[in-house]
Structures are given as structure tokens and as C-alpha cells.
């Protein structure tokens, strides 16, 4: 439940009164209430985009009633929201029929469509192997979150696609794999092969660096250089894989603990140490 502050407002979701905070989106509030609103182009770590249109809900503000993208639409006092009205279901169904025609083999699309009773689409498929729904998450995470901008949209309308400039290996891509992580359909993929990371979708290959401790390749040289560039000069960057970093952290922590315990023992006596151990 949202913390009630001066910025709290009242909204109604599917007939139920709810508290929300100014600045929150309809999706955030509805999901907190346990409402089932599907999303495809939305990711918590990326700014809302409102493009896939499966998260549409019906809002009534004053006399106006309309379908709005819940991922982006801000709550306002007195807003009345319906997450599963006939209009919402109809619109989602049309969108899902269109997406199913575009990406008939995408499990994510197929499963979501089925949830709305769409098992087949009346529209033709251009490319049966298409898996990109053009949600733009890869482009947005690369540009807006990482500030790299290795990929972008090319062309427009039905010819729109995501890709690297001129469809050639990217000189900018750092191979961090954020695009792979956020892609909702698995269209964007990469493969680590020995000391090479192949960003398959972007036709780009990058050299992997081995962990200074265990020797396993774990991140691309370019990604580590990129992080190095973001850090202040006096902060050291150890080129260590997450697994080793974790075990090193555990090691350091337990060492620190034993020092604390020893110090406590000197001041609080044996009883204190026993108490501490029992915690």
C-alpha cells in the first residue's frame, strides 16, 4: 500500500477506491493492487513509451471517457479507471490479432493473445519468422539508460525496424547485453563463444575479457572500458567477474566481522561474544 502523504490522491480502479501518489502511473498503482494488466513495451528501468498498446485501460476524467496507455498515463485525483471493460478487451484483442499476424512464432505474443481468446488472426503474415514487435526497448535502453546509442530505428511505418546503422557491425556497441535482457520476445540475442561475444542481432562481435581471479571470460573489453570511463579516476575498477566479486565481498565481510567480534570480545568480555554469536 502506498504511503499516505500530502501528495496522496484518490482514484477508483474497477469500482474499488484506492490511494495513489501524484506522479505515479496508472500501471504502477494498478499492479500494486494486483490488477492484471499486460505490457510488452514497458520495463521498470526504462522511461514509458506507450507504443505496444496492450496495456490500454479505460479512464473517465470528467465527461471524457477514453482508452489510455496505463504504462504512461499519470494518475490524477478522482480518476476512474477500468482495467477490464469491454472496450479495453476489444482494443487489446485487435492489437493482439495484429501482433500475432506480425510475429506468429513469438511465444510471448502467442501466449498473451491466447489469454484474450485470440488463437488465430484474420490478418496475413509477411514474414513467418519475425519475432520483433518493435517495442523499442533495446533502442531505448541502449540510448536513454546506457547513453551508448549503438542501435536505432530505421525506416518508418510498416517498414520500421531496429538495427545498427547501415546494417553493418557497430563500432559503438559495447556488448553489454542490456538489449538482450530487456527484449520481451527474445528477438535480440547474443552468444558468448570463447573470448568472443557475438551480438547476433546487431551483426557485431566483441572481445571478452577474462576475470582477473578465475580466468573465465565475463564481460566485453569495451563494456569494462565504458564503465571505467564513467567512474571517477580515483575509484579503481577491478576486472573481476560477478561470481568472484561476490565471493571476495563475502570474504571481506567475514574478515570484517571477525575483527568486530574480536574487538567486542576485548571490551564486552566472553558473555558479550556469546550473545553476539547467538544472534
Amino acid at each position: 500500500m502506498a504511503q499516505i502523504t500530502a501528495d496522496s490522491i484518490n482514484i477508483t480502479v474497477d469500482g474499488e477506491l484506492a490511494e495513489a501518489q501524484v506522479g505515479e502511473t496508472v500501471l504502477t498503482v494498478c499492479r500494486r493492487m494486483g490488477k492484471d494488466i499486460p505490457t510488452l513495451c514497458h520495463h521498470e528501468g526504462v522511461e514509458p513509451y506507450a507504443a505496444c498498446r496492450v496495456c490500454l485501460v479505460e479512464v473517465t476524467a470528467g465527461a471524457r471517457q477514453e482508452l489510455v496507455p496505463s504504462c504512461q498515463y499519470p494518475v490524477s485525483d478522482g480518476l476512474v479507471i477500468q482495467t477490464d471493460s469491454q472496450a479495453v478487451r476489444d482494443a487489446r484483442r485487435v492489437v493482439l490479432e495484429l501482433l500475432l499476424a506480425r510475429c506468429p512464432k513469438s511465444d510471448v505474443v502467442v501466449d498473451l493473445a491466447r489469454r484474450y481468446g485470440v488463437t488465430e488472426t484474420p490478418y496475413p503474415t509477411d514474414d513467418p519468422d519475425e519475432t520483433c514487435i518493435l517495442c523499442g526497448l533495446c533502442v531505448r535502453v541502449c540510448e536513454d539508460v546506457l547513453g551508448v546509442g549503438a542501435i536505432g530505428f530505421a525506416d518508418r511505418g510498416i517498414d520500421r525496424e531496429v538495427g545498427v546503422p547501415f546494417d553493418e557491425a557497430s563500432e559503438v556497441c559495447i556488448g553489454c547485453g542490456a538489449c538482450v535482457a530487456v527484449c520481451p520476445t527474445g528477438h535480440v540475442c547474443s552468444i558468448d563463444d570463447g573470448l568472443v561475444r557475438r551480438m547476433e542481432t546487431w551483426k557485431t562481435e566483441l572481445e571478452l575479457e577474462e576475470c582477473e581471479v578465475c580466468g573465465r571470460p565475463f564481460a566485453t573489453v569495451k563494456q569494462l572500458d565504458h564503465i571505467r570511463g564513467l567512474l571517477p579516476e580515483h575509484v579503481p575498477l577491478n576486472r573481476i567477474c560477478p561470481v568472484c566479486r561476490r565471493s571476495q565481498a563475502v570474504q571481506r565481510l567475514s574478515e570484517a566481522c571477525s575483527i568486530v567480534v574480536d574487538n567486542l570480545g576485548a571490551t564486552a568480555g566472553q558473555d558479550g561474544i556469546e550473545n553476539l554469536k547467538s544472534l
Partner: protein, 623 residues
């Protein structure tokens, strides 16, 4: 071109003095020749006519007493090149370069009227001497376009001489920001770009946002097929737009403005550029305007010509140098717009109305129009219409008056079928609704929209399914591809319509089309997608029988859809002139020589209709 006298105007008083001086100066010219230099007339090579006038006047040593101006669009594009000769207001049309010496000789020097250059009323056959008496102009009310045919757009002096920048002087000198907004609110001015939102209200919302930095933008990204109103205002009277923006900026509290104009409008880009430079020289743009402490500068941002960039949020993205795609509203540009700051966007025609409203008053403006749509609207009247051109009419005028009284009806005596308003986002209005008054809400009520003012007239030989298909094809090309319903949905609407036009449709397709159109309208991200189904839905609503003829009888009643028509030649009507034989691209027509009737070989015919369009005797029939 004469260098402008307007330089460093430091106060309203100086502006007034300059205006009076310019008026006195103008009196030394006994005759004024205003040749239309709009884009339509440029296509007729009016430049050659202007050059011919210039040479002829120089040759006869008349340049000190005759003032030749290349003005903006006069509107009657059908009849270009055009010239108005004052003080008598004589209106010559379809002028050729070889007519020029005669005009100078007989009319300018001799005071004679050259009858053959006058407009001839097609029905009464009367020759009409003055522009204002031509039916095309007689039913118009030209507020925004009033000065277009009089002033030279590339000379700020001309604009000042007709009272230009007086409204600005009044505003910055005597009115508070709230007073300006109140005047605009009271005038009832609504945005001319398509949405019809109350301009004063929009200004007020932007003004009331916090922060010191605010922007005003002029949307000159006119993209509807066949529409060229805004282009012609920028070309013909760019200072009226600048003055409107200055007044708006003062009311809103903006110190900077942008004009977003498509680069495909070279003359508009040039003329607004010249206007900005001259206004800066005149100190009407810049710091401490008219000595009042008000600062405002304008930048010109050229668009690459994407239809979607006329949508406010896409326009802002494009000005910022980002990909021109829309983003969901709210936040509205008035709340968070250009560079994240409150931004007020109005289109060219809206801005151009503002100085008039300030000068002549809110009540004067509100005195024209209907209860909820005030003032005039400029339309580009195109398609199957006798008088193609730009018309400015009072709101509330009926479509019938525009099409028949101003437009002169349909060419070749064919029957009117429909008019499309609002461009590809608008709807088709059938003959039964011709008495509909032109008004934002009336048009929306019948499934069309005012849009920015495109008005495409269609005759009985236009297939409504094919027209819907044409618009979907346009929108398919212009959809940015960001949201699913617009990108995928328009493609599939086009797919279904193409199938129907090819005779491969069935009755289920009509229901599918309707469901898809409704879905796209409800679910699309921006107004482009939201209104994209309008041509489909309105044609289905008013011309359903044509769809049914296509799918059930495999027949195209208008005889347009090539897969569904058979052309043949009526031997009784054929005079054997052979024109059809020459135009046929597949050599399907034989005969047609020495007065023997022509004949079409159906095996070779591709139903391109070239013979039908060419035949002067209506001998080609379509079944």
C-alpha cells in the same frame, strides 16, 4: 527588389511615422501592378510574366510611376498567371508573356481594358473586370488572405504600410498579458491546424505553467495531400504570422519561438526567412521591442517532410533533433514541450488571425461564423472542381456554396459525388449533406473533420472504395510505425481495401474492415492513427452500396477499379480519330483510322482507362 525603409524602429510612434511616410511615398505611383507569385502561379511560370513586365516598364521608362509587385497567392490558381492592376482593380487572368507589352501599352498607358484577358463567367459568358466581382472571390471573406494580393511578401515596408505591426504596438504598449488572452478568448478563435482547440485557452494554460522559459511554435508542417493554405500564407504574408507569434509570446511569457516549416516548401522557407531577417533589422524581433522591454526571437526549423511531424509531440521531437515520432499525451506541450519547457503550438493560419483580432477587436471577429466556430477558414479547393484554388470563407457557409458558388461546380458537367475534408484524417461527405454548414463540430459530427483545410471534391467517376484505398496507402507510407494499431492496422486496412478493389473481397471483409477501423481509432497513440480510419468509416457509412457492389457483384459502379471493369468502344459514337489508338499503352486498340471505328482487343486491354480519358466523343464506355 526595393530595400526596406524599416530599420531600428524604437517605439510605437516611430512605427506610426514610418507607416505614414510609406503611404505618402506610395502615392507617387499612379499605377500598381500586383502579379501573383504564389506556388500555383509559379508553376505557370509567372516569373516570366513578371520579368516581362519589368522589362517593358523599364523600356518605356515607367518604373517611377508604375509599381510592379510580385505578391503572394491570390487564390484563383485555376486561372494563373494573374495580375491585378490598381487603382481600377482590373483583374487579368491567364496572362502570357506576349500579352505584357499590350497590357502596358493599352491598359497602363492608354487606360483601355483588354477584354480577352478578363475572366469570363462560364454560364452567363459575361466578362468581369474586377477581382472582387468574380464569383470565385465574391462569396469569400478574406481576413487572413486580405493582404496577400496587395503586398510584396519580401518587403516589410509593404506590410507596415497596410497597418502591419500596429497590433503588436498596441499589445506591448497598452495591454497586459491577461488582457491579450482575454481578447483572444472572447474572439472564440480556435486552432486552425485540425484539433480546433480554443487558442486563448491554450495560451492561458501555457502561461500559467511555472518556470521562466517558455516557447511558442508555429506549426507550418502542412502535409495533407492537396492542401496548401499555410504554405500560401507563409509565402504571401509571412509578417502576419510573425506578428501573431510576437503577440502570443507576449501573452504567454515566451522569449523564443520556432517556425517549423517543411523543406519541400522552398518559397515559404525563403520568404519567412527574409521576413525574420527584415523584422530583426527593423528591431521588431530581438531585444527591447518598440522600447517596451519585451524580447522575442524566432528561429526557423526545417522539417524533412514527414506527415506525422505535424503532430505536436512529433514536431517538438523533430525540432529538438530527435526522431520525429509522437509521444503520448499527457503531458501536453503546454505542460512539458520543447526542451521540456511549457510550449504553445499553433498553426500558421491561427497565428495569422491574431493581429487582425487585436486590431479589429474580439467582437468584430466573433461577429463572423457560427456559435462555436468563429471567423473564417481557408480551404484549398481541389479535385474535380472548376475553380481550383484557395478560398477563405466565413465559418457557417455551406459546403454547397463552397463547391458550386465559389468552386463553380464540377468540370465536364459531371455529377458531384462527395467532398473530402480534413485530408487523410478526415472523412467523405456525400451529396445529401452538401447543405451542412462548415463548422468544427458539424464536420466532426458527420465523421469528417475540419482538419487544416484541405477540401477535395470528387465526381461521379470517383470510386469511394478506391479513394479509401488511396488514403490508406498514403497513411501507410506516412505512419511513423511507433504504435502497433497504426503501423500494423493501416497496413491491414489497405490490404483488405486492395483486395476489394481487385474483386477478391467478400462480404466478411466489410465487417472485418469496420472492426479493425474501430480498433485502430480507439487504440492508436496519436491523432494520426486515431483519425486514420475516418476515410474508411465515412465511406462505409455513406457509400456502403459501392462496397457491396465490389464484393457481391464484383462490379465497380464508378468504373475505376481496373480488375472489375471492361472497356469497349461504341461504334456509333466513334469518329475514328485515332486518339485512343495512340494513347493505348498495350496496343490493344485497332482501327480508329480514316473514320473507321476503333475496337478494343479485350485480351490485351489492361483497363488503364487512357482511352476513356482521351476520347473527345464519349465513345469509350465502361461496364
Amino acid at each position: 527588389m526595393i530595400a526596406p525603409a524599416a530599420k531600428n524602429i524604437a517605439s510605437a510612434g516611430q512605427l506610426d511615422q514610418l507607416r505614414q511616410r510609406l503611404r505618402v511615398d506610395a502615392e507617387r505611383y499612379k499605377v500598381n501592378i500586383a502579379v501573383c507569385g504564389g506556388t500555383g502561379c509559379q508553376a505557370y511560370d509567372c516569373q516570366a510574366v513578371i520579368d516581362a513586365f519589368d522589362q517593358e516598364l523599364a523600356r518605356r521608362d515607367l518604373k517611377d510611376t508604375v509599381r510592379l509587385r510580385c505578391t503572394g497567392c491570390h487564390g484563383f490558381c485555376e486561372r494563373g498567371p494573374l495580375a491585378v492592376i490598381s487603382p481600377s482593380g482590373l483583374f487579368y487572368q491567364q496572362i502570357k508573356t506576349e500579352d505584357v507589352p499590350e497590357i502596358v501599352d493599352k491598359t497602363i498607358i492608354g487606360g483601355e481594358v483588354i477584354e480577352r484577358l478578363l475572366y469570363r463567367e462560364p454560364i452567363t459568358k459575361d466578362r468581369i473586370r474586377e477581382e472582387s466581382e468574380v464569383p470565385f472571390y465574391k462569396h469569400q471573406q478574406r481576413i487572413v488572405f486580405g493582404a496577400n494580393g496587395i503586398i510584396e511578401p519580401t518587403n516589410i515596408d509593404d506590410y507596415i504600410a497596410v497597418g502591419g505591426y500596429q497590433a503588436l504596438a498596441k499589445v506591448v504598449g497598452a495591454l497586459s498579458a491577461q488582457e491579450v488572452i482575454d481578447i483572444v478568448l472572447r474572439s472564440g478563435l480556435r486552432g486552425r491546424g485540425g484539433g480546433g482547440f480554443a487558442a486563448g485557452r491554450k495560451w492561458e494554460i501555457t502561461r500559467d505553467q511555472g518556470g521562466d522559459t517558455k516557447y511558442v511554435i508555429c506549426n507550418a508542417d502542412e502535409g495533407d495531400p492537396g492542401a496548401y493554405m499555410d504554405r500560401s500564407i507563409l509565402e504571401g504574408n509571412p509578417h502576419s504570422v510573425l506578428e501573431g507569434m510576437l503577440i502570443g509570446a507576449y501573452a504567454i511569457g515566451a522569449a523564443e519561438g520556432y517556425i517549423y516549416v517543411r523543406a519541400e516548401y522552398p518559397l515559404a522557407v525563403r520568404n519567412i526567412g527574409v521576413a525574420v531577417a527584415q523584422a530583426e533589422e527593423a528591431a521588431l524581433l530581438g531585444e527591447n521591442i518598440l522600447g517596451t522591454g519585451f524580447n522575442f526571437k524566432v528561429r526557423i526549423s526545417r522539417g524533412a517532410g514527414a506527415f506525422v511531424c505535424g503532430e505536436e509531440t512529433a514536431l517538438i521531437a523533430s525540432v529538438e533533433g530527435r526522431l520525429g515520432t509522437p509521444s503520448a499525451k499527457p503531458p501536453f506541450p503546454a505542460q512539458r514541450g520543447l526542451f521540456g519547457m511549457p510550449t504553445n503550438i499553433n498553426n500558421v493560419e491561427t497565428w495569422a488571425n491574431v493581429p487582425q483580432i487585436i486590431s479589429r477587436g474580439a467582437d468584430w471577429f466573433a461577429g463572423t461564423g457560427t456559435p462555436k466556430s468563429k471567423g473564417t477558414k481557408v480551404f484549398s479547393l481541389v479535385g474535380k472542381i472548376n475553380n481550383t484554388g484557395l478560398v477563405e470563407v466565413p465559418m457557417g457557409i455551406t459546403l454547397r456554396e463552397v463547391v458550386f458558388d465559389i468552386g463553380g461546380g464540377i468540370p465536364k458537367g459531371r455529377k458531384f459525388k462527395a467532398v473530402q475534408t480534413g485530408g487523410p484524417s478526415g472523412g467523405l461527405i456525400p451529396e445529401s449533406m452538401l447543405d451542412l454548414p462548415i463548422d468544427f463540430d458539424e464536420l466532426t459530427g458527420v465523421g469528417a473533420m475540419m482538419g487544416s483545410g484541405g477540401m477535395i471534391v470528387m465526381d461521379e467517376d470517383t470510386c469511394m472504395v478506391d479513394i479509401a484505398r488511396y488514403f490508406m496507402n498514403f497513411l501507410r507510407e506516412e505512419s511513423c510505425g511507433k504504435c502497433t494499431p497504426c503501423r500494423e492496422g493501416i497496413k491491414n486496412m489497405l490490404h483488405i481495401l486492395t483486395r476489394i478493389c481487385q474483386g477478391a473481397g467478400n462480404e466478411d471483409d466489410i465487417g472485418r474492415l469496420e472492426a479493425l477501423a474501430d480498433g485502430i481509432g480507439a487504440a492508436a497513440l496519436c491523432a494520426l492513427g486515431g483519425t486514420a480510419p475516418n476515410p474508411v468509416l465515412s465511406s462505409l457509412k455513406y457509400f456502403r452500396d459501392e462496397y457491396l457492389a465490389h464484393v457481391k457483384e464484383k462490379r465497380c459502379p464508378a468504373g475505376v477499379c481496373t480488375a472489375l471493369i471492361t472497356l469497349s468502344i461504341d461504334a456509333a459514337k466513334c469518329k475514328g480519330c485515332g486518339r485512343c489508338v495512340k494513347v493505348c499503352p498495350t496496343d490493344a486498340i485497332s482501327g480508329g483510322v480514316k473514320k473507321a471505328p476503333a475496337k478494343i482487343d479485350q485480351a490485351k486491354c489492361i483497363s488503364c482507362r487512357a482511352c476513356f480519358e482521351t476520347c473527345p466523343f464519349d465513345a469509350v464506355t465502361i461496364v
